[in-house]
């Protein structure tokens, strides 16, 4: 069967393949390379990728500097960046989640941008306050805003009409949300009033934090030294979730973060608390967007939570840093922000662009009702604590919320236990 000649052929093909491999390597150049080119790691797909590629070409035409981009899924970027940093070859610019900022700031190669953003023409204050908070760690600016978003309620108008319910109004309350959810739930046709993601990660936590703030509560004390969520507000927010998940059973629990959006798009869910990034995932639903409900009498209002992300510059030599800064400041200048937002439906990272005439209508033409999210940016009053221990706190809170949603513990007991653990994590 395996003749001698065949085996010799195999041996030669090994040699040939190896030769090919080594030869083929010649085309692989390192990140950036010479001629002042810089490399940027980003996770844009679809429309965002096309718009971004267009901007890169435009920059090269206008400024003669080549910016090469490498696609890295945002979830994986941290692993790749940390490995590259440890190995001594970080990228020039990387897209990093805002929640990583307090820790990313400790990387020695991260470039401080505090002076750069104060230069004339940058208009640092034109960026939303939530973005600036996330880009700044202990007074040191370590990133330029890359993305801004917020949470609001997206609801299915058809299901509301079918249930005889009026659309949510701008001054609605959580009691109203709860009652709407109950009326929209029908086990017979497997329809749920609302949904919540329960993997216990930060996605679980930040949805609840919005409720906590709306109930007038705070996560930690102002000095970030102790837990402050074990309060009336904490109890109210958890009780709302518990009623829907356990008592009314109007809440679909998604433990994998993968089903809820498609369920909504298939008309199985009445309302979702989510962000503008999901709107393009609902082509089959006649949806509307409304601000977050409030807890009347608490002063929390209809405030919402925002999750901005940053472009971070790494030090690969002063000329590369200078080029990277120049590029980022151009990328985040109003003209480019306007172009990018209109092409992708992403919220504009600058207030001046959001306020410009006709902008809202133009955005809505491309992506219906996204202007509601843009206006909702005015409801962002505070940000999550920018401390390195936040991931630990997030896990504790995630467990607390999920155990209440699954009916495994009572809200007050869960709050007390979580507060204890958080205090330990902060003090220890």
């Amino acid at each position: 069967m395996a003749s001698h000649r065949a085996r010799v052929r195999v041996a030669w093909s090994l040699v040939a393949a190896l030769a090919l491999a080594v030869a083929g390597c010649g085309t692989g150049s390192g990140g950036g390379g010479s001629s002042g080119a810089i490399q940027i790691w980003e996770g844009y797909t679809g429309a965002e990728a096309k718009a971004f590629a267009h901007l890169l070409t435009k920059y090269q035409h206008e400024h003669g500097v080549q910016v090469t981009s490498l696609y890295v899924n945002n979830d994986n970027t941290l692993q790749k960046v940390l490995t590259a940093v440890r190995g001594g070859s970080p990228p020039d610019i990387a897209y990093l989640y805002g929640s990583w900022a307090p820790n990313v700031a400790q990387i020695p190669q991260v470039v401080t941008l505090t002076k750069a953003v104060q230069k004339p023409g940058v208009n640092w204050d034109d960026f939303w306050v939530g973005e600036r908070d996330v880009a700044t760690v202990n007074g040191r600016v370590i990133g330029i805003p890359a993305l801004v978003d917020n949470l609001a309620v997206v609801y299915n108008k058809t299901l509301f009409a079918r249930a005889g319910l009026p659309d949510p109004s701008p001054d609605w309350s959580w009691a109203q949300f709860q009652s709407d959810a109950k009326k929209l739930t029908s086990p017979a046709i497997k329809q749920f009033g609302t949904a919540y993601v329960t993997p216990g990660t930060e996605d679980t936590v930040w949805h609840w934090e919005a409720l906590l703030w709306e109930a007038g509560g705070h996560l930690l004390t102002p000095d970030n030294k102790r837990a402050a969520f074990d309060s009336k507000a904490g109890l109210a927010s958890l009780n709302t979730l518990k009623t829907m998940a356990v008592t009314d059973k109007s809440m679909y629990l998604d433990p994998t973060d993968s089903a809820y959006a498609n369920l909504f798009n298939s008309g199985h869910i009445g309302m979702l608390v989510t962000g503008p990034w999901d709107l393009s995932a609902f082509p089959n639903v006649h949806y509307g967007v409304q601000v977050m409900p409030s807890y009347p009498g608490t002063g929390g209002g209809h405030q919402t939570i925002s999750g901005p992300d940053n472009w971070v510059i790494f030090n690969n030599g002063s000329s590369r840093v200078a080029q990277a800064q120049k590029f980022l400041l151009w990328l985040t200048a109003p003209a480019q922000v306007r172009y990018f937002s209109l092409r992708t439906g992403d919220l504009p990272i600058r207030r001046s662009v959001a306020d410009s005439a006709g902008f809202d209508q133009q955005m809505d033409t491309a992506l219906p009702d996204v202007s509601a999210f843009i206006n909702n940016l005015n409801n962002v009053r505070q940000a999550r604590p920018q401390i390195p221990q936040y991931p630990k706190i997030s896990t504790i809170l995630g467990t607390m919320i999920v155990s209440v949603l699954l009916g495994k513990s009572q809200p007050q007991a869960a709050l007390t236990s979580a507060a204890q653990q958080v205090n330990q994590a902060l003090g220890g």
């Binding site: 041996a11 692989g28 390192g30 996770g43 797909t45 990728a49």
Partner: protein
């Protein structure tokens, strides 16, 4: 040979009754995959998944192919996989045979050490591996450094899995064949090349198939080691459809089908080598 005559004969082998349901269970996710690849993006955004697209949108395939340099990704993946397979067949045969049949000082300890390399998860070893690879690229040969295809081949050019697998297999072969050749004066290498390897065709084919699969689907190390788009392999290319917030499912699934097909074709063709008749090797008795 006497076999009790069954009273009721099916027109086909009864084994089909076992294999067909089993195959349905095994292939079910592929059905979903292929169907999703033929849907519009709106149809793909359903839960429970729609298994009946209105139109078979074959245009997803060229759309996926053109959205990124997939031709280049295919070439890269093929070069890496083929080279890795051939290299493993050679190096793991040698090492596996030595561990199975040769007595040398430190054999046991060396084998244990090799096995130990399988027991630490990649998340922990990837940073040192990156540093080593980078060092090799700078100090030894540019072709195996970061952002070169060689960096994807060399760390897996011989795997503890391959050595372990072939060692176990070689040990199951009857010693007589090798001993008689040795008595005839053949060197160890000749014994391996002429006698043992031909007898090991199923094992070698199996190792080739498994190594190919592993290399073709490898994601995390290429993610860490590749810094430019034209050095990407298929899994990295497919990841470009998968954003953190939104995924283009039909294109991703079309890409997945295109990525899977060579593997399945190779396996389909090669699987008759998994089965051999003893008569074919010329060494049978009876």
């Amino acid at each position: 040979m006497v076999r009790a005559r069954p009273r009721f004969r099916l027109p086909f082998s009864p084994w089909h009754l076992v294999l067909v349901p089993a195959t349905i269970v095994l292939l079910f996710p592929f059905v979903w995959l292929v169907l999703t690849s033929l849907e519009t993006s709106g149809e793909a955004l359903h839960f429970p998944p729609l298994l009946t697209p209105h139109v078979l949108k074959l245009s997803n395939y060229p759309a996926a192919w053109h959205s990124a340099p997939f031709g280049r990704f295919f070439i890269n993946s093929t070069v890496v996989a083929v080279t890795t397979v051939l290299s493993n067949l050679v190096l793991c045969s040698l090492a596996g045979y030595a561990f199975a049949r040769l007595r040398f000082l430190g054999r046991g300890l060396l084998f244990a050490t090799i096995m130990a390399t399988l027991m630490v998860p990649f998340q922990v070893t990837m940073i040192p591996q990156f540093i080593i690879t980078k060092w090799l690229g700078v100090n030894v040969l540019a072709g195996v450094g970061i952002n070169h295809i060689g960096a994807l081949i060399l760390p897996n050019a011989a795997t503890a899995f391959g050595v372990f697998f072939l060692r176990q297999f070689f040990r199951t072969l009857p010693l007589e064949y090798e001993e008689s050749a040795r008595v005839d004066g053949a060197s160890r290498l000749r014994v391996l090349w002429r006698i043992v390897l031909p007898l090991s065709a199923p094992a070698l084919a199996t190792l080739a198939a498994l190594t190919f699969l592993d290399s073709w689907n490898s994601f995390l190390w290429p993610l860490i080691a590749v810094d430019s788009t034209n050095q990407m392999t298929l899994p990295l290319g497919l990841a470009t459809f998968q954003g953190a917030h939104s995924t283009e499912w039909p294109l991703l699934m079309a890409g997945n089908v295109m990525s899977l097909t060579p593997m399945l074709v190779i396996f389909f063709v090669a699987q008759r080598y998994f089965v051999r008749s003893v008569a074919a090797t010329g060494l049978a008795g009876t």
